[in-house]
Amino acid sequence: MVIPDEWLVMNDDLTLPGATDTERGSSLWRDAWHRLRKNKMAVGGLFILILMCVLALLTPWIAPYSYEEQNLVLGAAGPSAQHWLGTDTLGRDLLTRLLYGGRISLAVGFIATSVALTIGVLYGTFAGYFGGRVDATMMRLVDILYALPFMIFIILLMVIFGRNILLLFLAIGAVEWLTMARIVRGQVQSLRQQEFIEAAISMGLSQWTIIRRHLIPNTLGPVIVYTTLTIPSVMLFEAFLSFLGLGIQPPQSSWGLLISYGVETMEEYPWLLIFPGLALSTTLFALNFLGDGLRDALDPRASKD
């Protein structure tokens, strides 16, 4: 008799162990959501983040001017009714440039983080699941990589292979997966000893199915928290590289690049520094508060008392 996979999953895929014996309607995720909703800073962060993402997605339709449009006669002008955030030295609308820059900054944040997420989760699950010598070897490699000065390596990469945005995604993602792998491995190790995994094994499920259906979904809590905190650090790194002129290259633009332009002319046209800075730091604030809030909401220790 073939038993459908679904039978082996208690409550639902997303329930963490430990919450399996609680009644329906107060799953860990629902509890977490309730706790998160009470945290005003985290909800504010979530709201700002959603707003930023929507703006970034809709940029080509809502941007007041075209990205290239110059107005040399106007030059750099402060905020006005026509140009809400003012214009840069070439008379380009700053709001438009901020919107397009935000697309790149957010894209780097999300894409590089998903690279890190994919590698880290798979690697950590694999090491935690097989344990023993496989685990020891795999985590040893992580330890060695941890000790490498990656920041300098990425700069080296950007210098040697040109400032390629795809390479930037990959390079940053390849650095950030290490912590993710450690977190996931710890989770999987403790899950591995739970009865429902034993049940799944005795049902004759393949290892891949067990990993995919039972282990990975159960590591989601800490993974989500860490992902939320990885995005801002990735965005910060991109901005750092772009500021130094080693990241995003014109005509493309990112908040980091706009800040570095702003610095050059900040004495005469301070708004060119202030608005891009505001955009970047607001997003970083939002992500950090959301991440902290999620951690408090999902922390099993906090949920006990």
Binding site: L156, V159, G245, V263, S281
Partner: protein, 312 residues
């Protein structure tokens, strides 16, 4: 303890070797070849490079001769500036960078632990929220934003402090040091708050209080030692961060330090300079990680026992 130090030291060597190897082959794999003549390099430099890397020989031979030179402490010639070597650049830039880093480290440790400890003494009150929200600002305002903003406000608008240079005008070191310190102060504050919260709920703190010790002695003598372990463990990685932070701060404030030289070399595609400084930075970072690991074990009796039991 001795065994642990030795073990860690032996671990650091392969890591350093990986860094050197990766750097060498990355630079060698640059499209078009990093040392190709099309880039209009002065003939003297090219000649030095040929001798240095034995460019007519197989790559492996070049690699081993590079390793040999490194072992002898020779980081190579500059690719862009004839007659200058990477070693000279490092000698020229290191003092300013080290001084700047030291100030930033001192500021962040003093200010950060004070704020963190104060916050941890009364968690979830205003005494906790105010320093911790300020710390969040330090984390979310990166140095390349905070630096120029402080320059604009305190240097240009208020004219309180000079905005660039290093050691020329009195006070010109204030803004760079504060800028570099801001992010670390924030991290240290968060770490020491977490560490102190955990320590202050331990039994031995209760014992100390039960003995009737004044609260400030309990906090300073018994609490701090345990509570600051996360801060010490962070000092190693923080050093790596201070170094990359110096890239930005030195560029913004025009400080003739290693960080600025490195960014300029990266900009000029001065391959040998980048290669040399990368290896130098990597060695420094590995060394500081090692030191902070050892210090953390030395401070924490629990870890010390573990390291005596096995070599891990």
């Amino acid at each position: 303890m001795g065994k642990f130090v030795l073990h860690r030291l032996l671990q650091a060597i392969p890591v350093l070797l990986v860094v050197i190897t990766a750097t060498f082959f990355l630079v060698r794999s640059a499209p078009g070849g990093p040392f190709s003549a099309e880039k209009a390099v002065p003939p003297a430099v090219l000649k030095a490079l040929e001798a240095r890397y034995q460019l007519d020989q197989p790559v492996l031979n070049q690699y081993f001769s590079y390793l040999g030179d490194l072992a002898a402490g020779d980081l190579g010639p500059s690719f862009r500036f004839p007659g200058r070597s990477v070693n000279e650049m490092i000698y020229a830039g290191l003092p300013a960078t080290a001084e700047l880093g030291l100030y930033a480290l001192l500021i962040s440790m003093l200010l950060g632990t004070t704020a963190g400890v104060i916050a941890a003494l009364k968690p979830n009150t205003a005494q906790d929220y105010i320093p911790m929200s300020t710390a969040m600002i330090g984390i979310c305002l990166p140095s390349f934003l905070l630096g120029p903003l402080m320059m604009l406000v305190f240097g240009i608008w208020l004219e309180w402090v000079p905005i660039s240079g290093w050691g020329n005008i009195p006070g010109d070191k204030i803004l760079p040091a504060l800028t570099l310190a801001s992010g670390y102060t924030a991290y240290v504050a968060r770490l020491s708050r977490g560490g102190m919260l955990e320590v202050m709920s331990q039994d031995y703190i209760r014992t100390a209080r039960a003995k009737g010790l004044p609260e400030w002695i309990v906090v300073i003598k018994h609490g701090l030692r345990g509570g600051l372990i996360p801060v010490v463990a962070f000092a190693g990685p923080a050093f790596a961060g201070l170094l990359s932070g110096s890239f930005v701060v030195e560029t913004i404030f025009q400080i003739p330090g290693l960080g600025r030289f490195y960014v300029q070399a990266a900009f000029n595609r001065d391959y040998t300079m980048i290669m040399g400084t990368t290896v130098f930075f990597a060695a420094l970072i590995i060394l500081f990680n090692l030191l902070s690991d050892i210090l953390a074990v030395w401070l924490n009796p629990k870890l010390r026992q573990q390291t005596n039991g096995d070599s891990g």
